[in-house]
Symmetry: C2
């Protein structure tokens, strides 16, 4: 009989986390990932994305199930409110990335968490996307994240958030931008 030590903190399997880090250190090609979403227009501003397959660790993989998400505009923006607006998903992505990072960093440092909650606000002036001003940008003008953490020593908790921010993929994309190409086929 083999006894496997499973060290779990904050719901993070730290033994596997550290083993994964070691594996990637030994073969950096394992770190190359490609994520994907497919989207289908339904009617008006209502459309739906499916997220299922991705590539990583040198193989094509899938999530355990396909995830589907509706996006739409609310009535005040001439939609039917079948889902959040696309820009609201950005706020969710940011909160989710920073929170997952907080859990991982805390586990790696041996910091205990009892609560991590956050509110994200994004200010946007729609004069841009409505084409009514060329001085107003299309996207958010600013985004604010407010975290509440409970658990270990407050100073340790703050340091964990800061490290998560420094290593967050979504924070990087949203603050620094990324090259995006758009191709069109009409066959």
């Amino acid at each position: 009989m083999t006894v496997t030590e499973h060290t779990t903190r904050n719901g993070v399997d730290t033994a596997t986390l550290f083993a994964t880090l070691d594996a990637v250190r030994g073969d950096t090609e394992l770190a190359k990932f490609q994520f994907r979403a497919t989207n289908r227009w339904l009617a008006g501003t209502h459309n739906q994305s499916t997220i299922h397959g991705f590539h990583g660790a040198k193989q094509d993989m899938t999530h355990q199930q396909p995830f589907t998400f509706d996006a739409d505009h609310p009535a005040v923006l001439v939609g039917n409110d079948n889902g959040p607006t696309p820009v609201e998903y950005l706020l969710h992505a940011l909160a989710a990335c920073l929170t997952a990072g907080i859990a991982n960093v805390a586990a790696a440092r041996g910091v205990t968490l009892s609560e991590v909650s956050s509110t994200v606000e994004g200010d946007i002036d729609l004069l841009g996307i409505l084409g009514l001003s060329n001085e107003v940008r299309n996207g958010y003008q600013r985004i604010r994240v407010a975290f509440t953490l409970r658990g270990d020593d407050p100073e340790k908790l703050r340091a964990v958030v800061e490290q998560s921010r420094r290593r967050s993929a979504v924070f990087d994309v949203l603050t620094n931008g990324v090259p995006v190409s758009v191709d069109v086929s009409t066959d």
Copy 2:
């Protein structure tokens, strides 16, 4: 009896769309919106956001219902796959924003659509977020969107996509970045 003319194209109520544009032209304060998400950590890399209230057109509003979304890491990234990763939500947001814009622009221009579908791919090297390289960025290195459109004349369809891209809030945020502040309370 009043006969109201409802001109709908591609599922877009163009009469209401143009009336909305006129209203905002007359009072640009109506265009100031604030979107919000709240997030709660569950365990490990699993967390959940709720999107419900927002501010716009000078009033606090809510979506018809609260929308909740789970994010997690797949097993290969030491999670339990209870939802897509945060970075995959960015791809969905981008496809959704461009697609909603395509529907609106096409309707405003009298261009008929029969299909709008897309695939979005994002390349990311996890050496950044894993803290194993300081040369590799944390976020996506590039994102590619591939649209397929059917309906009207191909040239008109391509012009509609281009105009949607030029006025997309998510495309702007992802390509140009936005200031993000992160506050922490440990009370």
